[in-house]
């Protein structure tokens, strides 16, 4: 028998899981070397190794799916389950930071003044830049839906335009948050308020950057004719991830920025 008689994908041996694991080790030990001994080489090597792993692994997935036809309907179903499970794991990741925030803010200790926000903390006005950030992300949710429907209706020009607008809005959010970080009167070292604020919003910002990168990859692939009007799971995965990032922001805005002020 020279060809498979089933619809599944028996993936060829690949070095990327190993390089991924090694880069994770370099990243963790690199952080320790940096924090405790001010030595950055391990961390830099780990960042380079993990970036290369991600690029090459995902490049291979695109090759297997788009160019070699391995992504049959049952294979795609498995990829869908995978993305859903990954996003669920990310929800749990953020749940931890929200737990920390609520644990400290629902029962403020006497050491910080017995109220929330603690004494000496001037929180950001939720009706200024945070509100703009909310409008930006909600708008990006609309534009990405427009992009998806345009893609399904085989409208190349509009799906590219809408995707570009989504990326621009994501970049604008990142720019606004970075300028907010420079303008806050409180810092990460300002007790439990600073810790919970910057850990939660910081990791969210990192996820916005990751999501924007994912969308940009989709834009490049779209320009290279990788997607069809009925088969574009990479785009759908990026859209799911982007909506997740938007929803996390809404929880952040309501909990930390609004209720927490």
């Amino acid at each position: 028998m020279t060809h498979q008689t089933h619809a599944y994908h028996m993936v060829n041996p690949s070095p990327w899981p190993l390089t991924g694991a090694l880069s994770a080790f370099l990243l963790t030990s690199g952080l320790i070397m940096w924090f405790h001994f001010y030595y950055t080489l391990l961390l830099a090597t780990g960042l380079l190794a993990s970036a290369m792993t991600m690029f090459q692994w995902w490049r291979d997935v695109v090759r297997e799916g788009t160019y070699q036809g391995h992504h049959t309907p049952p294979v795609q179903k498995g990829l869908r389950y995978g993305m859903v499970l990954f996003i669920i794991s990310e929800i749990f990741f953020f749940a931890g930071f929200f737990w920390a925030f609520y644990h400290s803010s629902l029962a403020p200790t006497p050491q910080t003044g017995g109220h929330w926000p603690p004494t000496g903390i001037l929180p950001l006005n939720p009706m200024e830049v945070p509100l703009l950030n909310t409008a930006v992300l909600l708008a990006s949710g609309v534009t990405i839906t427009w992009a998806h429907h345009s893609l399904m209706e085989a409208n190349r020009k509009e799906s590219a335009q809408a995707l570009l607008m989504t990326i621009a809005l994501g970049a604008y959010f990142t720019y606004l948050q970075m300028s907010e970080y420079s303008e806050t009167s409180f810092t990460i070292s300002d007790g439990i308020y600073g810790s919970t604020f910057f850990m939660a919003t910081g990791f969210h910002g990192l996820h916005v950057i990751i999501g924007t990168t994912f969308l940009a990859t989709c834009y490049i692939r779209q320009q290279m004719y990788h997607f069809t009007s009925s088969h574009h799971f990479g785009f759908e995965a990026a859209a799911w991830y982007w909506h997740f990032v938007d929803v996390v922001w809404l929880f952040l805005y309501i909990s930390i920025y609004w209720w927490g002020s």
């Binding site: 001010y38 603690p118 200024e128 830049v129 399904m152 009167s185 070292s189 088969h231 799971f233 759908e236």
Partner: protein
């Protein structure tokens, strides 16, 4: 069991879906003109909303903010370990105009 729950959920939500997997189908048909609806929402709701919020921020930023007086609270400006950059005493997004060091504002 999942199918039973799924169909109960469908009935609860008033959707007539034949099976639970339907909305995730890659061959999900885009309703005629639904891209046009999202395009209209983009240009008439979403982007104007962003514009109004931008205007709001611009107007609010016109007011000069006075910075609060420095009080050396023990629960703020914590330095149990130096930061692994610079002199170890400045946060990553340090702004000397609004962020005092544990000893006070740098420009006073």
């Amino acid at each position: 069991m999942a199918a039973a729950v799924g169909s109960r959920l469908s009935r609860l939500l008033g959707w007539s879906r034949p099976q639970l997997g339907r909305p995730m189908s890659s061959a999900a048909h885009s309703g005629e003109g639904s891209a046009r609806m999202w395009k209209i929402l983009t240009f008439f709701v979403a982007l104007p909303g962003v514009g109004v919020s931008m205007l709001n921020v611009y107007l609010k930023s016109q007011k000069e903010h006075e910075r609060p007086e420095f009080v050396a609270y023990p629960h703020l400006r914590i330095r149990t370990k130096p930061f692994p950059w610079g002199d170890g005493n400045h946060t990553l997004f340090h702004n000397s105009h609004v962020n005092p060091l544990p000893t006070g504002y740098e420009d006073e």
